[in-house]
Structures are given as C-alpha cells and as structure tokens.
C-alpha cells in the first residue's frame, strides 16, 4: 500500500478511537458531544486520504456531506443539551438514568465527589465601577440561562 495513504489511515483511526474513549468515559454532555465530533474528524481524514489516493473527488464530496450532517448534529445537540440543562440544572449524563431500558438497574456513581469551588486566592482583574448602580429588588431571581 502507498505509505502516505497508510499514515493517513493510521491518524484517522487514532482520532476516531480517541473520540470513542472520550464519548464512553466522560460524563459532561458537552464533552461527549465534542468527542463525537472528533470521531467524525477521523473519518473525514480517511475519506480525504482515499480521495487523493484515487485522484477522484468523491472522497472530498463525501466529506462535505459529513460537514453538513455535523452542522445539523451540532444544532440539534446544543438544543437538546440546553433543554436537558433547563430540566435538571446539571450537565451530567448520569442525571438521565431514568431513560434506561425497563428492567435494567440504575448504575450509581462509585464515588460521589463534591464540586470544587474556584480557589479564593485567585484574583481576577476588575474595573472600578463607574456611574450609578441601578437598584434591583434582591429577591428577584434571574431566569436567564
């Protein structure tokens, strides 16, 4: 086999597998989504390498369709993540274990960790406030997310 093609296929496979690890292990919905996108990148590398190898445009055309589908997927995934976050106020996939098949036990987390507050010693630069602060009732909760 052509060594250039071979190297490209190896890189594509590696990216795909790394994305797979990320999708399987991470629990943050957004990171899972990014990992799925990385798997698509691996496949796209393979297609472009084959396109150059066969001197035909088919592989590149397929990759353009992958881009299209990835854009659709991004739109839908972000909309879903937004909705899920509004329901449970967390991005953890484990919060949605009730979506499992009937008859399957829930899998509780082995270790329950508390969230880490950002270190208090870190001081971010801030501007001196200018003008008058508008008076708002303190109890009013903002619902913007």
């Amino acid at each position: 086999m052509n060594p250039v093609l071979h190297n490209y296929l190896v890189i594509g496979a590696a990216l795909f597998v790394l994305g797979m690890i990320g999708f399987l292990t991470r629990r943050n919905l957004i990171i899972m989504f990014l990992s799925a996108e990385m798997m698509l990148q691996g496949v796209a590398i393979n297609l472009v390498a084959f396109s150059a190898y066969h001197r035909s445009y088919q592989g590149q055309v397929f990759t353009i369709f992958i881009l299209t589908v990835a854009a659709c997927e991004a739109a839908l995934a972000l909309a879903l993540i937004l909705t899920l976050y509004q329901r449970r106020r967390t991005l953890d996939v484990s919060a949605w274990q009730e979506l499992r098949e009937p008859g399957v036990e829930a899998e509780p987390d082995e270790v329950v960790l508390e969230p880490v507050e950002p270190a208090a010693s870190v001081h971010f630069p801030s501007l001196t406030p200018a003008g008058l602060e508008p008076s708002t009732p303190k109890e009013q909760e903002t619902t913007h997310v």
């Binding site: 060594p3 994305g19 969230p115």
Partner: protein, 338 residues
C-alpha cells in the same frame, strides 16, 4: 508496514493507552507528570516508526515533516481534549484538533475542504464555547467533570479496536500480486499521456509518438497498460469493451512472453500494444481528459453539483429540517407545561 511490523506497533499503542488511562480524570487524581512522560515515550516511538517508514522517492521530505507535525498536533490535542477536566479547555483543544486536521487536508490538496472545515467548525466551536461558559462555569469544577466513568474498560476497548485497525492495515499492506498494475504509476502515466496528446496535436506522426511513449515508460507493461486502460474510460461503451478485450489479450501475451523470456513474442506483443495505443490516441485526440486533474476547486464543484446534485438538495433540506427541529426543541415552555 507489513505483518512483521504489526507486533512492533502494538507496544507503543499499549503504552499510549495506559497514558490516556492515567490522564483521564478520576478520584485518584490525574497523575499528570508520570503519564505525560509515558505519553511522550509512546509518541517518540510512534514518531520514530513513522519517520523511519518514510515513503518513496516521490514524496518530498518537507511533505513528510509537515505531515508528522500536523499528525502529532492532532493526536496530542485529541488526548488533551478527552482528558481535560475543565470543559472550556476541552473546547479549545478541540479547536486545535480541527486546525491540525485542516493542515492534513491541505497536504492532500483539499484546499476547499480545509477552508470549509475551519469555517463550519469555527462557528460550531464558538457556539459550543459560549454554551460551556454559560452553563458549566458557574459553580467551579463540577463533580462529574472530575470523575470519568469506567476509564480502564474504555481504554482496553479502544486498544483492541485500534489494534484491529492496525492489523487490517497490515494485511492490506502486503505486497500485491506481481502482475497487478501499481496505482502509483497513474500520475506518471497521465503525464506521459498528456505529453503524447500534445505531440499529436503538434502534428507529429502517431508512430513516433507511440514509440516515444513506450520508450519513456520505465516499466512498459504496467505503465502503458495503465495509460491505455485510462484512455478507454472515455470511450463509448461498445468501443470500450472492444478496446479492453484487445488490450487484455495483448497484455496477457506480453506477460507470458516476459515469463518465458521469449524475445520474439515480447516484441510482437509490444508492437500490438503500441498499435492499440496509437489507434486509441487517434480516436481520442482533442479529448479534454488531461484537463480533469488540473483545477481542484472547479473539479470539486463540478463533481458536487454534477454527480451529486440530488444529494446536495437532500443535504440542504436536512439542514432546514434540523434548524426547524432545533428551534422546536429549544423553545422555552411555561413552567409545568413541559
């Protein structure tokens, strides 16, 4: 790469997977320094293998070095992406993965695709990034970001999958049967063909052109047969079948003559090939075939909006439906009405 090298690759693969396993966030804490050293070792071994393996005389050194750089960047940022516990850094590392991938695309002369990927993914990344900042950054590092689910099992599965990929590639990398024409010869063959057509257009006699074509081919059997097979692509179906039958018989004869080292039979079959080639060249003189490889973006557009027009329309509809669906899903409902 062949089957003997396959075993050699398994070791850095396993080491790399151990490094990924150690890097994944867990309640042990991430053993960054230790696993980074392991990962660097694996990268060093793999890089050395790839560099040593390097290619043929038709691949320039600069190409190979650029490829190694982009590939290392892609893999390295990929590992960083899946192992970061902070989602903001994850998004940034993913942007780097996309940029390196675009570099790899450019090296394969897919310029339009590189630009399109940057544009599309940059947009997607910016949106994702905003979401991450809005949703996840409010309460510091969340517990679910600091604890990966079943990292060991996932790494073992990934190792097995990657090993299977490597094995399949190693199987495909075995030397082909000696008589099969090497696809690597095609660019050269096409160049020869374009030259021959130019000479014909300048009014040289087909005899001379055909002879020169044969002389300039390093490996007359495969190169000439390749050129002629490529030429038959552009013929109408009935003529194509006829020409291919003639070609096949001549090539078979030539192969047999080479095998038994029969000088006379060899000359005879070469002359026959020569004749077929000349008639084909004459038949196709003025064909735009040699133009096909020239314009990348124009050719891509022609293929996209010619061969795949229906698919393009379907993809456009898909985008529209996805937009409508996203709006329908994300629409805010009143409390209790959900």
């Amino acid at each position: 790469m062949n089957l003997a090298q396959f075993g050699l690759v398994l070791l850095p693969l396993a080491v790399g997977m151990v490094a990924v396993w150690l890097l994944l966030p867990s309640d042990r804490g991430r053993q960054v320094v230790f696993s980074a050293a392991i990962a660097a070792g694996a990268a060093f071994i793999v890089g050395g293998l790839v560099l040593l393996q390097r290619t043929g005389p038709d691949v320039p050194l600069a190409f190979h070095l650029l490829f190694c750089t982009f590939a290392a960047m892609a893999i390295g940022s990929g590992v960083c992406m899946i192992t970061q516990s902070n989602p903001v850094y994850c998004a940034l590392w993913f942007a780097l993965v996309v940029l390196s991938t675009c570099g790899l695309f450019l090296l394969q002369s897919a310029m339009f695709l590189a630009a399109a990927t940057i544009i599309v993914y940059a947009g997607a990344i910016v949106v994702t990034f905003l979401f991450v900042i809005m949703l996840a950054q409010q309460t510091g590092l969340a517990a679910y970001d600091r604890h990966a689910r079943e990292p060991l099992l996932a790494c073992i599965a990934a190792f097995v999958l990657l090993a299977v990929f490597q094995y399949a590639l190693a199987l495909a990398g075995r030397p082909a049967t000696p008589n099969a024409a090497e696809p690597r010869d095609l660019p050269r063959a096409l160049r020869l063909l374009a030259d021959a057509q130019k000479q014909l257009a300048q009014g040289q006699s087909p005899d001379d052109v055909g002879k020169e074509l044969l002389l300039r081919s390093e490996n007359p059997d495969s190169t000439v047969a390749n050129v002629l097979f490529q030429l038959t692509e552009t013929l109408p179906a009935d003529e194509r079948a006829q020409a291919r039958t003639a070609l096949e018989s001549a090539t078979t004869k030539l192969g047999r003559a080479r095998l038994v080292e029969d000088r006379k039979l060899m000359d005879e079959s070469l002359a026959e090939l020569d004749r077929i080639g000349q008639s084909l060249l004459l038949r196709l003189q003025g064909s735009p075939y040699s133009q096909m490889q020239v314009d990348h973006v124009a050719g891509l557009g022609q293929s996209l909006f010619g061969d795949y027009l229906w698919a393009v329309e379907v993809a456009g509809t898909l985008l529209l439906i996805a937009t409508v669906g996203a709006i329908a899903i994300a629409l805010r409902r009143k409390e209790g009405n959900a």
